[in-house]
């Protein structure tokens, strides 16, 4: 074997770390929102109007190009603002919480009868959007059949919550969820767990298509991308899906109760936090509200996501399970104009091969060859080296290590977007 070691790096982020033994706090914020960036290009058909009362889990909008796929309300409340950009692109839909709101009930019985009914239920309940298809890292198309499904049962991003904690006491939901995932594919379902984890959940749904992967709990091996790359690479004709363990439990709970879960487990941590904790909050929670009374004095930035790839925003991102609060002071220091001009002129900045770069890509592939292919936009080489199995978040550790400008994660996302556009046309 030319490359087969699972190596990685430990990113030391200062500040308190959420303790696993501290009771998880429930925190439903007064405001929440479904939001999307311009890059997401999410064109929608609204199913509700402003000022309308909605139940938790009730349909809010359909995707315009795939009308079967629905997004649901993150909490019971009133639709406060519907902000759509030209072309009915989603910008933000904001909700105000109502204490005595209902929960929307789905009828899961019909979904037991056929695969199509199962897909329809997942799409109507919004849980389809928890799945991510590779290549391209977007929600799967309605008719897409994956060659394999990876369940992310560990998360090695700095300060990330342990997925096993998010489903503690919900083992039956997980087993039910895995059983439904097996109906979505004829290929294997990989259950990825830390090497030191116990036997896990697969014994609840015995099936020879369930493959348990024991993974070294070192970043970036807790990201599904490298596991997909190693065990079942995604190609244009053989897409591979991945899903978080908590979302698998959500699918199981939907089949048991007909309800969409109200909360998700997130970690609230970072250098500017006084009280790092594990919280349960609704999807799209208000980060300002979560930060209230829990951050140090002085300027700070709340990131939705880990310190490596998180984005400064108001609302918790659709796939994010972390809030990282960083000190804002250091970023105000600016370079001398000449240094700044030279840095700008020398983009993309040269990458010097070091052991850190090799580790940042997990020792899974020829790291420098891939990074150079991305830097010069060489799609053919990047594809040959496995870029179709990866998404931007898989390269954020390499970005951190190399201080790359522009970031390789952004270059990969752009490259995947262009390939997707070509495939669609």
């Amino acid at each position: 074997m030319l490359w087969n070691r699972q190596t990685g790096l430990t990113v030391d982020v200062r500040g308190p770390v959420p303790a696993a033994h501290v009771p998880v706090e429930h925190n439903i914020t007064e405001e929440a929102a479904l939001s999307a960036s311009a890059d997401d290009d999410l064109r929608v058909t609204m199913l509700v109007d402003e000022d309308q009362l909605v139940a938790q889990g009730a349909p809010i909008f359909r995707l315009r190009h795939h009308p079967d796929i629905v997004q649901v309300a993150p909490m019971a409340g009133r639709v406060a603002v519907v902000d759509l950009a030209p072309g009915r692109r989603l910008s933000e839909i904001r909700f105000f919480h109502e204490n005595d709101g209902d929960r929307h009930q789905y009828a899961p019985n019909a979904a037991h009868k056929s695969g199509d009914a199962l897909r329809l239920l997942l799409m109507e309940s919004g849980l389809w959007l928890a799945l991510r298809s590779r290549p391209f890292g977007r929600a799967p198309l309605p008719g897409e059949e994956p060659a394999a499904i990876f369940i992310a049962g560990l998360d090695t991003k700095p300060l990330a919550p342990n997925p096993a904690l998010s489903v503690k006491g919900r083992e039956e939901d997980v087993a039910r969820g895995i059983a439904q995932l097996l109906r979505l594919t004829h290929g294997p379902v990989y259950l990825c767990q830390a090497g030191d984890a116990g036997e896990g959940f697969a014994e609840f749904a015995p099936n020879d298509r369930i493959r348990r992967l024991k993974v070294a709990p070192v970043h970036p091996w807790g990201l599904p991308g490298f596991l997909v790359h190693q065990h079942h690479p995604a190609t244009l004709s053989r897409p591979v899906w991945d899903i978080h363990l908590e979302d698998v439990a959500a699918i199981g709970a939907l089949f048991a109760t007909g309800l969409v879960p109200q909360t998700r487990l997130i970690s609230f941590a970072g250098p500017a936090v006084t009280d790092a904790r594990l919280l349960r909050c609704q999807p799209g929670a208000d980060l300002r509200s979560l930060c209230y009374g829990r951050v140090t004095h002085g300027p700070h930035i709340a990131l939705s996501g880990s310190p490596l790839e998180g984005r400064a925003r108001r609302w918790l991102g659709a796939r994010d399970r972390q809030v990282s609060v960083m000190n804002a002071g250091a970023s105000d220091q600016r370079d001398h104009w000449l240094v700044s001009a030279l840095k700008q002129a020398s983009r993309p900045r040269p990458i010097i091969p070091t052991a850190a770069i090799e580790r940042a890509l997990g020792g899974a592939l020829p790291a420098l060859a891939l990074l150079r292919a991305l830097a010069v936009g060489d799609r053919e080489t990047a594809t040959r080296l496995g870029a179709l199995s990866l998404v931007g978040e898989d390269l954020t550790l390499a970005d951190y290590v190399t201080c790359a400008a522009p970031r390789h994660s952004a270059l990969l996302d752009n490259m995947l977007r262009e390939i997707a556009k070509e495939e669609a046309s």
Binding site: W3, V339, P350, I351, I352, P353, A356, P366, G386, V401
Partner: protein
């Protein structure tokens, strides 16, 4: 989002720190003349860096000191200032600046300079390196490998093949200080050496193999001349080594997954 510190200049500074034992030992062995030569070559390279910064907006790098150190230690002796300036200018411009600066080059500029000086002025004698410089290269190699700015696989590959060659031809052992110094200063340059793990083993092994071959077949040549020539030939082969390793990896992966 947080950013790390392993940018180009961090790597250059770490390499410079790792090279300090060699620099200090060489100053102690050669005296103030060595310091003056280092300042002269650094200035010469610095002027070219300045010209390319103004003309092409290429930021200069601390790696200039590494290049200068390798040149002044390994360059042929008794060269006039003009000859040295000519060699350094050719090496730094064609070996580094024309490619876009340190980090984008494929050949080590010091290796190109030394090769040019060797071919261009064959009458100038090559230096005999003091043995203490070889001892100083050991901590330099260890520190650089510890920080990961030099490939430990490359050093080990060279070490294994050199040891095997010494076992076959014990006379080769006399060359170890020179072989080690050239290995640390020229061959192990992270930019110009192989970037794939297996390629690094091959890179180091090939260097030691060339040295052993030259020692066995190249009569009357100086130790430094053999080592620098081996370094130059290996650096020409490095892109091919990396490409071959990546192709092998792709083929192996395709076989495994089909």
């Amino acid at each position: 989002m947080i950013r790390g510190i392993w940018d180009r200049e961090t790597v250059a500074l770490l390499l410079l720190c790792a090279s300090l034992p060699i620099m200090v030992t060489w100053f102690l062995a050669e005296g103030w003349g060595a310091v003056a030569r280092l300042v002269f070559v650094t200035l010469c390279i610095g002027i070219w860096q300045l010209i390319w910064m103004l003309a092409r907006a290429q930021p200069p790098s601390f790696a200039v000191l590494l290049t200068a150190l390798a040149i002044v230690i390994l360059a042929p002796e008794n060269l006039g200032a003009l000859q040295l300036v000519l060699g350094v200018s050719l090496g730094i411009v064609f070996g580094e600046l024309a490619f876009g600066g340190w980090g984008r080059n494929i050949l080590n500029p010091a290796t190109v300079t030394l090769a040019f000086l060797g071919f261009g002025f064959p009458g100038a004698p090559w230096p005999e390196l003091p043995i203490q410089l070889g001892w100083a290269a050991i901590p330099a190699a260890l520190v650089a490998a510890w920080f990961g700015v030099v490939s430990a696989r490359l050093l080990l590959g060279a070490g294994v093949v050199f040891a095997a060659a010494v076992w076959i031809d014990p006379g080769l052992l006399e060359l170890w200080p020179t072989v080690l110094i050239v290995l640390v200063l020229l061959v192990a340059d992270p930019v110009a050496s192989a970037s794939t793990p297996v390629g690094a083993w091959v890179n180091g092994a090939l260097y030691a193999g060339f040295v052993a071959l030259f020692h066995a077949t190249w009569q009357g040549s100086a130790d430094v001349q053999m080592a620098v020539s081996a370094a130059f030939l290996v650096s020409l082969a490095v892109p091919l080594i990396d490409e071959a390793i990546v192709s092998l990896w792709v083929a192996q992966r395709r076989r495994k997954l089909d």
